[in-house]
Symmetry: C2
Subunit: 463 residues, 2 copies
């Protein structure tokens, strides 16, 4: 039993407790609420950190206003705050290179073709990408186009003029598709002249561009003639090297022209590093050069000159080492991954007409647009190009037209055709391609053989 | 006073209350906690939505596997899922162009220099960017470099060879800095020949590239000789046109060479559209051409030929219409926005040595790295170049070296110097620049006058 005093005490303590409870309750309620909020923030932050592939923006450099700095010169202006975090203008963070070691810090690393191939390149590239996360998104589709020509003026008086136009053509294609391009004009290995110059260049490019998944070598005498077409990279996901060719000619005929080594797509990976090493070892700088000349001439009965060449060499590796090399080499024959100009140029007028007929019918394709969103028309075109056909019987724009045998730089074209024929054909193909580019700038060449003349393209052309 | 029963009841009810309190308390505590968490999530989501500038990624196209499609051909392969959302590989969404109207759908839009300038360009560009948000981030620093040369082969046998090298040089600079480049090689207005060809090209480029804030015209005979330096765009935020020049020579001497119109940076805006229209109206296609020749010859006493030229024209507008034009034109004289080759090339060996001395001392600058993160070294270099000086008394790498007077294409160089002098100077500057590029590919030219030879760069060079 509780005494009145105890009861009263209880009342009082209840009241006190009640009052204290209210206050305590308020504080503890607040703490609980805040605790919930804090835990929520922590969870969100943890999840964001886990899934975020881009670093948080660098805090801007503290900066004084320009006028204060003007007298101090431009030193601080060169890294202005708005430029300090390059993610944005170009889409990538180009200003940060963390000091933690990566493969570049290994003194054994060599860019040179004669050095043994790098080891664990796949892992090293992956580590570099982790270190530079802004390049990680979309890496599987990132391409670096590599091309080039000799260091000295062309022997053909018209040679450098043509090379300049071929280079512009490639730059146009790359700009439309957000692809980087590197033009090399010096032999990285002095003995690896002519077509042999590719592999040293490609190896150096692979090491200089760990952000690129693919290196796309395109000869100086090859032009893009379908400015919209994109490499179907998904097709090649199980392969490391793509070349244009015909399996029948490789395996049955064993022809040295069963593939073309003037255009290839090679994955920036360990397999490729090793392949390049073996492929390059057939070259003039190697003691085995003469021996390779004999082997390749014996293997390919239609080879036209006795010296070892990179094209026969490639086919040889494909044929003889199927397990190691052949199985990873995709011989693409379903579209003009590169196309022989002789079976293409004569059809360009017809192709132009067929495409114009489609444009006349489809409003969307006539619509003007920024060059940067040209890719948006690809699926629209595909609807109408379903039956166009990719090869010589078809009328699709050929992807790449390759002037094999024309030798624009030296002028030592194949005697099968005249220099004028080659020249006219090159002008035609380049102007045909240029029309696809200039369209977005409001102009077109009315005559494919006259690169000097353009007319404004009227609104809603060609309706 | 409380009776024992009441007390007991109280005890019981307290106990019950206590028990019920515990349960209720637990639920209400949980609710409070969850409430705090919910409020926190809502706040974070609201803030993120407010500040987020990029849309959520486009859902990928539904696709059948390649093998199912292979027999159907390549049509669907050309827009493979991994490529369908182009944000990633290049950083921008190039595959979507919404059908809602934008300025391109106005039939009055003309790319041609002779058409009246577009109206409300600032608003139209803004609307286009809203429609294509992946280009909005970083737009204020986005540049398109425009250059070009004639449609026909150069008269100088060595001309196209040089133009090709100058073009490669620009492509190298642009690749390092994520800048797009457009090379034009046809007169968009047939009468606007030679230096007049710039304005039609720039106008067309502005309309074709609404994603670019700046168009940077760089003459075909100008080379980047500091591959690291970036335009200090913050400096120009209150201006719409940047040229290299000396105010004294403009305002006091009224010299026609007080500025150089071969390199300019123009904002992609309404002011610029109107300026270009006025500037171009001084050209050969305009009825006022002869009158302008007289006016400009009278205004600029040192003008060397009677015909209207774009450089004098620009200065004229700057001088005579200060309110409208002059105030928005930034005359940059504090660094080689473009520099006269004669005062530069002779110093390049010394510049090379000074930079090498710095590299010998600073480990970080010797560190190999991917070309794409070359910009990360800029602040490190700036520490050591504080007192280098930007002009002819200094030893900083000149930003752009302009071979004014050398006329590599026609060969009609200023008689002040020989063709050989020009040629050697161009080779030297281009090789000097190439060394900065090739370094990231593992090679260097030992002799600036010999573009044909490179040596591998050893690890930790030049320590």
């Amino acid at each position: 039993m509780v005494s009145p005093e105890q009861s009263q005490n209880q009342n009082f303590s209840m009241a006190k407790h009640s009052a204290r409870s209210k206050t305590t309750s308020f504080f503890s309620d607040t703490l609980l609420f805040a605790g919930g909020a804090l835990v929520a923030f922590l969870v969100v932050w943890a999840l964001w950190s886990l899934f975020s592939t881009t670093p948080s923006p660098t805090p801007s450099f503290s900066s004084t206003s320009f006028s204060e700095r003007k007298s101090a010169g431009l030193e601080s202006a060169v890294v202005s705050p708005s430029q300090s975090c390059a993610v944005g203008a170009s889409g990538f963070d180009m200003v940060h290179d963390p000091t933690d070691p990566n493969f570049y810090d290994d003194r054994k690393l060599s860019y040179s073709i004669e050095a043994p191939p790098i080891k664990n390149w796949d892992e090293k590239r992956r580590d570099w990408l982790k270190q530079h996360p802004s390049f990680a998104a979309g890496v599987e589709n990132r391409i670096l186009l590599v091309t080039g020509s000799q260091a000295t003026p062309c022997k053909n008086p018209i040679g450098d003029y043509l090379l300049l136009k071929f280079f512009k053509n490639k730059v146009d294609y790359c700009r439309r598709h957000g692809i980087d391009i590197f033009y090399n004009n010096v032999l990285l290995q002095p003995k690896m002249f002519s077509f042999w110059a590719k592999t040293p260049t490609v190896k150096a490019a692979m090491l200089a561009h760990p952000e690129a998944e693919w290196i796309w070598w395109v000869d100086s005498d090859a032009a893009f003639t379908d400015m919209d077409f994109k490499l179907p990279l998904d097709r090649y996901k199980a392969h490391n090297l793509v070349i244009h060719g015909w399996p029948k000619l490789i395996y049955e005929k064993k022809s040295w022209t069963s593939i073309n080594a003037g255009v290839f797509l090679i994955r920036n990976c360990q397999w490729a590093m090793e392949f390049i090493d073996v492929w390059a070892s057939m070259g003039p700088q190697d003691p085995g050069y003469d021996k390779w000349g004999e082997i390749l001439s014996t293997t390919f009965k239609d080879k036209i000159f006795p010296e070892s060449d990179d094209q026969s060499g490639l086919i040889y590796l494909l044929l003889k080492e199927k397990e190691k090399w052949g199985n990873k080499i995709y011989v693409e024959g379903e579209y003009y991954f590169e196309g022989y100009w002789m079976e293409i140029v004569g059809r360009l007028d017809n192709v132009t007409e067929r495409y114009m007929e489609i444009e006349k019918r489809v409003r969307r394709l006539r619509r003007r647009h920024a060059e940067k969103v040209s890719e948006s028309n690809i699926p629209v075109w595909e609807e109408y190009l379903k039956d166009a056909g990719f090869g010589r019987e078809g009328w699709r724009r050929p992807f790449i037209t390759h002037f094999t045998g024309c030798q624009p730089c030296s002028g030592d074209h194949n005697k099968m055709y005249s220099g004028q024929t080659c020249f006219d054909a090159m002008q035609k193909a380049l102007t045909f391609a240029d029309n696809q580019v200039l369209r977005n700038y409001g102009f077109m060449h009315p005559d494919l053989l006259d690169p000097s003349t353009v007319n404004p393209v009227p609104f809603d052309y060609p309706s």
